[in-house]
């Protein structure tokens, strides 16, 4: 049966067919939908973990205990889980273990565009790379078999373009979950318990395994040669193959489905039969360096960029430089001035009051990652630093430790509920333990909104929506010994402002403000009315424009101030009242609904 599936849907299906029993992940674009799809499949236990390291440790446990297990994460998630990957490389597995690393060339929704093929080489484990959804499904099964055959974790690397593009998949008629009996765990400390003496003994096993994997790769069906014109041989993988196949038409191709370890014999053979070896790969010169290290001459990054996502145009440009003629599509440059469409907090977003206030109070802000990263943009321009999950609290502590969190420059850390559980808790412990005096704002919107409203340990619901014990952030914070904990209604801007001021005024000990209010996408969000503007009272003072709401826009100029009055789009407004609260002239009022 032919179906149009995204790479992520295909991976979930492939995992089900391969009999995966346990899957764990922390959401992250572009990987999130894999677990969301698996969660709907009977026979698979799929859990959101608080972070990627915890996910991969649990998946390791499931594999040791004899079940095929899957961890999924975005590229930067593997930084968090890398500690686990490295010991797993040594212990190996019992039942098959596959780790999906979804990379993001182009950094569409990430803080960087790292190339996780390096992790495969670094940890000395195999890496498979599908080039479309069909391969995404097929390679999962291959990855599980490979994992068991070679006693190793296997990385399956996708990119945004592979995970989120839909292409045609031949779905087997019988695609039920294939239940497998647990493979008995045979205690073996020399394999599973990495004290130094055991680790030293396991290292040669890892090196030997890598050699054998390299041998396997030479004849593995995932690596394919397509012979054509031999004046040029293209070595490529993943989506770069798709672009190259439309650009280097008729030339010879070595398409690598396994990007580590590389099939040395196969590459040598291919290279010896073509006049010129050209490597077409997105991001880093990974194949290029490996191939050069084999002593085989090739070209690559002098023709194709190191940075950003590939496209047909980018690959064509490189081909042209290599002397392969390309069509030149006339592109009209856009004649009209089309304004940019920057992202904005949704109308009714609970984060709005906080960023309006931070801007108003001119505080310095150590930021974190979530929808509220939009606080970097106008009109807020309110976040000074932003790095990774949980970084806000650590950065604030460092600033505080060297005396820069002072009356002249008060700093605050801002973090969401999901990153608080992900990496914020140890950082808060650090603040308490090391006599910090930072103010930490926790924006609790009762969901992991940025990645599409996933549950987390604070929401009281599992991935499948089952009710569970809700971990109360306020109790956690108090449990760590913080005395000054303020809980405030996110939709009450004056209260938010007052509370932040009070917390920042505490200079000799840490303080925490929990700003609570649901994301508008949650069922618990109450919208009863909309707001409207009294155009007689409004004088165009523009204060409400500073709440950065997409529902508020500029209308006619005021006769005296000559500044545009505010208008509210009734289709977009959901009556959160933040603009109403900041208007000094009471020009905004509620309209019943």
């Amino acid at each position: 049966m032919k179906k149009l599936l995204s790479g992520n849907e295909a991976i979930a299906l492939g995992a089900k067919i391969a009999g995966v029993k346990y899957a764990s992940a922390y959401p992250g674009t572009p990987s999130t939908e894999i677990l969301e799809n698996l969660a709907k499949m009977a026979g698979v236990r799929a859990d959101w973990a608080p972070n990627e390291k915890v996910a991969l440790d649990s998946v390791a446990g499931a594999s040791y205990a004899g079940a095929r297990a899957l961890a999924t994460m975005k590229h930067v998630g593997l930084n968090v889980a890398s500690e686990t990957l490295f010991y797993l490389a040594y212990t190996g597995v019992n039942a098959g273990l596959v780790l999906i690393s979804a990379d993001d060339p182009g950094a569409w929704s990430s803080q960087n565009e790292q190339d996780n093929r390096h992790y495969a080489r670094f940890a000395k484990v195999p890496c498979l790379e599908p080039a479309d959804s069909q391969e995404a499904m097929d390679f999962v099964a291959i990855a599980f078999d490979l994992s068991e055959q070679f006693d190793t974790p296997v990385i399956l690397r996708t990119t945004t373009r592979i995970s989120h593009s839909k292409s045609v998949v031949n779905v087997p008629e019988d695609n039920r979950h294939a239940p497998r009996a647990l493979k008995e765990f045979v205690p073996d400390m020399s394999k599973y318990a990495m004290i130094p003496a055991n680790a030293r003994r396991r290292h040669p096993v890892v090196e030997d395994r890598l050699k054998k994997l390299g041998e396997w790769a030479n004849t593995a069906p995932v690596n394919q040669i397509e012979w054509g014109d031999k004046s040029m041989g293209i070595v490529t993988s993943s989506v770069a193959y798709q672009y190259a196949s439309e650009v280097f038409v008729g030339y010879s191709f070595l398409k690598l489905g396994m990007s580590y370890p590389l099939p040395e014999k196969l590459i040598r053979d291919f290279a010896s039969k073509v006049e010129r070896l050209v490597v077409v790969e997105e991001l880093d010169p990974f194949f290029e360096h490996e191939i050069r290290a084999m002593g085989i001459p090739c070209v690559g990054k002098e023709y194709f960029p190191l940075t950003n996502e590939f496209s047909l145009a980018v690959v064509r440009e490189g081909a042209r430089k290599l002397g392969v003629a390309q069509p030149d599509y006339a592109t009209a440059s856009v004649a009209a001035q089309v304004p940019a469409r920057p992202p904005a907090l949704c109308p009714g977003c609970p984060h709005r009051s906080t960023f309006y206030t931070l801007r108003k109070l001119k505080l310095r802000v150590a930021g974190d990652i979530g929808c509220y990263s939009i606080g970097v943009l106008p009109p807020f321009n309110a976040i000074d630093t932003l790095g990774c999950m949980g970084a806000s609290l650590g950065v604030a502590q460092g600033v505080d430790a060297v005396g820069e969190n002072n009356a002249k420059h008060p700093w605050v850390a801002v973090i969401g509920d999901s990153p608080f559980f992900h990496a914020g808790m140890p950082a808060l412990a650090n603040i308490v333990y090391n006599r910090g005096a930072s103010t930490v704002l926790i924006l609790d919107n009762d969901t992991t909104a940025m990645t599409g409203q996933q549950e987390n340990p604070g929401t009281g619901k599992t991935l499948q929506g089952a009710s569970v014990q809700k971990i109360d952030i306020e109790q956690v914070v108090r449990g760590m010994g913080i005395k000054d904990v303020f809980v405030v209604d996110a939709f009450d801007e004056p209260a938010v402002e007052q509370t932040i001021k009070a917390a920042v005024a505490i200079k000799d000990r840490p303080s925490v403000v929990i700003s609570r209010g649901p994301c508008v996408f949650l069922d618990t969000y109450a919208d009863k009315y909309i707001d409207d503007v009294d155009l007689v009272k409004c004088n165009g003072c523009s204060l409400c424009f500073r709440v950065g709401c997409p529902a508020i826009y500029k209308g006619e100029l005021d006769a005296t101030t000559h500044k545009p009055k505010a208008l509210i789009d009734p289709l977009l407004c959901i009556g959160c009242d933040v603009c109403l609260q900041v208007c000094p002239r009471d020009a905004i009022f509620r309209v019943g609904n």
């Binding site: 032919k2 149009l4 569409w108 929704s109 479309d132 373009r161 989120h164 593009s165 839909k166 292409s167 045609v168 989506v239 193959y241 798709q242 672009y243 196949s245 439309e246 496209s311 047909l312 145009a313 064509r316 069509p327 599509y329 006339a330 592109t331 009209a332 440059s333 856009v334 004649a335 009209a336 001035q337 089309v338 304004p339 940019a340 469409r341 920057p342 992202p343 904005a344 907090l345 949704c346 929808c371 939009i374 106008p378 009109p379 599409g452 424009f545 950065g548 709401c549 997409p550 508020i552 826009y553 500029k554 789009d569 289709l571």
Partner: protein, 182 residues
């Protein structure tokens, strides 16, 4: 928008072709731009098309047609929903929403085949604002000259049962719209 491009891709499949669709977006849920590409063919490699070589451009918002027109092949067809969604850069900054004439002129640099559709209006008349996309698909079906039954088959399979009738009406409204200028 995202379901609309799924439907276009599945129509390609229903015609026995290879098809791929891919969306490009960052903070899309929060008001950013979403761009979705669909390619059909005997074999489709690249999931994304390229500037100056797209046969049909569907703009679900008025000024977006001008932003993306450089993707259209000279003489290709652009279908434009007349609905305006003001960008934040106009509220927070000094950006101005371009005039209808400026947008039309920008499109005319590339093509004369411009089909304006009042998607939101038609959809509102049918009692469901969310049908605007289906109206646009109807307009696309007309200019692509693909059997409407193939489209309807795919649409019916894709939308929740209780919206099937409404979607059919929206599709036909788009399909029967004005003639394509030549």
């Amino acid at each position: 928008m995202l379901t609309a491009s799924d439907i276009v891709a599945e129509v390609g499949m229903a015609l026995g072709l290879d098809a791929k669709k891919s969306e490009v977006h960052g903070f899309s849920q929060r008001g950013g731009v979403v761009e979705s590409h669909v390619r059909w063919g005997k074999r489709v490699g690249a999931p994304l098309g390229e500037k100056g070589n797209i046969d049909y451009l569907l703009a679900f918002e008025l000024m977006e047609s001008a932003r993306w027109i450089e993707f259209l092949k000279p003489g290709g067809t652009v279908i434009v929903n007349r609905q305006r969604i003001l960008p934040m850069s106009a509220t927070v900054g000094d950006a101005l929403y371009p005039s209808d004439e400026a947008i039309d002129q920008a499109l005319r640099v590339v093509t004369t085949k411009i089909v304006y559709v009042d998607g939101l209006e038609v959809a509102t008349d049918l009692g469901n604002k969310n049908l605007a996309n289906t109206v646009l698909l109807g307009a696309l079906a007309r200019v692509m000259e693909v059997d409407p039954e193939v489209w309807l088959d795919v649409i019916v399979k894709r939308v929740p049962h209780k919206y099937i009738e409404q979607n059919k009406q929206a599709f036909w409204a788009g399909r029967m719209g004005e003639k394509v200028p030549s």
